[in-house]
């Protein structure tokens, strides 16, 4: 059943995503691309790009869009509930416990130990995206766009909004 799948996909991705919304992006890809085959890598990368260009948190954006796309407003509600509720309920239940143990190295170690694994997951998705781009537009365009966007985003601190808009324009002109 679609609602149950939407719930499960978003629940798993967000319960394992240590390090905020971006950490759950590769986990969500694992669910919606590899497991349920709802989207291709290309379609998923489009969503990530648009989500990054728009303001607001990325994980709920993806959940809301995927839910709506697959099963309308109710689908979006289910996907958003699965994304938001479990971690929020955990926070409300555990806040007292965590507050008492906030200096415990064990509590702090949880995020620290998972972080390198999330880095590997993110790298895997980045690799998927580059491989996909290489197959569709070839190495020269991939290099041009990546070098330009890297310098704009990282070195000159240009907002992702403008970089994505620039890429859209580049694609509309040179990649048609």
């Amino acid at each position: 059943m679609i609602y149950w799948k939407l719930f499960l996909a978003n629940l798993i991705a967000n319960l394992l995503g240590y390090g905020g919304g971006p950490a759950s992006v590769p986990l969500l890809e694992h669910e919606v691309v590899d497991r349920y085959h709802w989207y291709s890598v290309h379609e998923f990368s489009e969503m990530v790009a648009v989500g990054n260009a728009l303001p607001g948190p990325i994980a709920p954006e993806l959940a809301g869009y995927i839910g709506f796309d697959k099963a309308g407003v109710l689908g979006a509600t289910v996907a958003l509930f699965a994304t938001i509720a479990p971690s929020l309920i955990l926070l409300m239940m555990l806040l007292g416990l965590l507050m008492r143990n906030r200096n415990s190295p064990k509590v702090k170690n949880m995020t620290k130990f998972v972080r390198p694994a999330i880095a590997v997951l993110l790298a895997m998705v980045a690799f998927d995206f580059f491989a996909n781009a290489y197959h569709t537009i070839g190495i020269i365009h991939v290099l041009m766009i990546s070098i330009a966007s890297f310098f704009l985003l990282e070195r000159w601190g240009i907002s992702p909004v403008y970089v994505i808009c620039g890429a859209l324009l580049y694609g509309a002109i040179f990649l048609r």
Partner: protein
């Protein structure tokens, strides 16, 4: 005096819509609304909640807005805060992607969609590097490399679901008594 729902909505609506580039960039804006503009709580309490929310999985943004909304005005406050954080941006997302999909057969739209994949790759690459850097700061490069190598073997070579690796890492974290922060302080002094 009870806090108005309209204020709760506006606080998280503004923090959400001005925060470009994912959850963490909205946190300073949320801090501004909650601590400075509406004065619902002090600086220290906000920082404590943020630090604890960070030790749990899931998107930080909705964890914070949901909990802060709850603190200010109970369950209805929580719902209002979540709606303010999530609904406007999800609607934008649906409108934008639906429009893109509606013109999918036009060559220039296909060009746009092809170009954007690479940028998404660069963004995720930068995020990856951010996680690696933070990890090296927190637990040192050796341990970071060991966990990453284990991650590559388990997830790429063996193709095992990430849940098992993350579960195992959490178990190890709970069994480890080592305090990395203390070690860092000793090095500093």
């Amino acid at each position: 005096m009870k806090v108005k729902y309209r204020d709760i909505f506006m606080a998280f609506f503004r923090a959400g819509l001005l925060g470009f580039g994912g959850g963490l960039s909205a946190i300073p804006l949320m801090h501004r609304e909650v601590v400075k503009v509406y004065k619902w709580m002090g600086d220290e309490e906000f920082s404590d909640i943020l630090a604890l929310a960070n030790t749990l999985p899931g998107p930080i943004n909705t964890k914070m807005s949901g909990y802060l909304g709850y603190r200010v005005r109970g369950i209805p406050g929580m719902l209002v805060a979540l709606v303010g954080t999530v609904v406007p941006t999800v609607i934008l997302m649906i409108v934008f992607l639906t429009a893109l999909n509606a013109y999918k057969d036009k060559p220039w739209v296909q060009g746009m969609s092809k170009a954007v994949v690479t940028v998404a790759g660069v963004m995720l690459g930068m995020l990856t590097w951010g996680f690696v850097k933070k990890s090296i700061e927190a637990i040192g490069w050796l341990l970071t490399m060991i966990v990453m190598a284990a991650g590559v073997v388990v997830m790429v070579v063996l193709g095992i679901h990430p849940a098992f690796l993350i579960g195992a890492l959490l178990a190890i974290a709970l069994l480890t008594k080592k305090d990395f922060d203390q070690k860092k302080q000793e090095h500093a002094s």
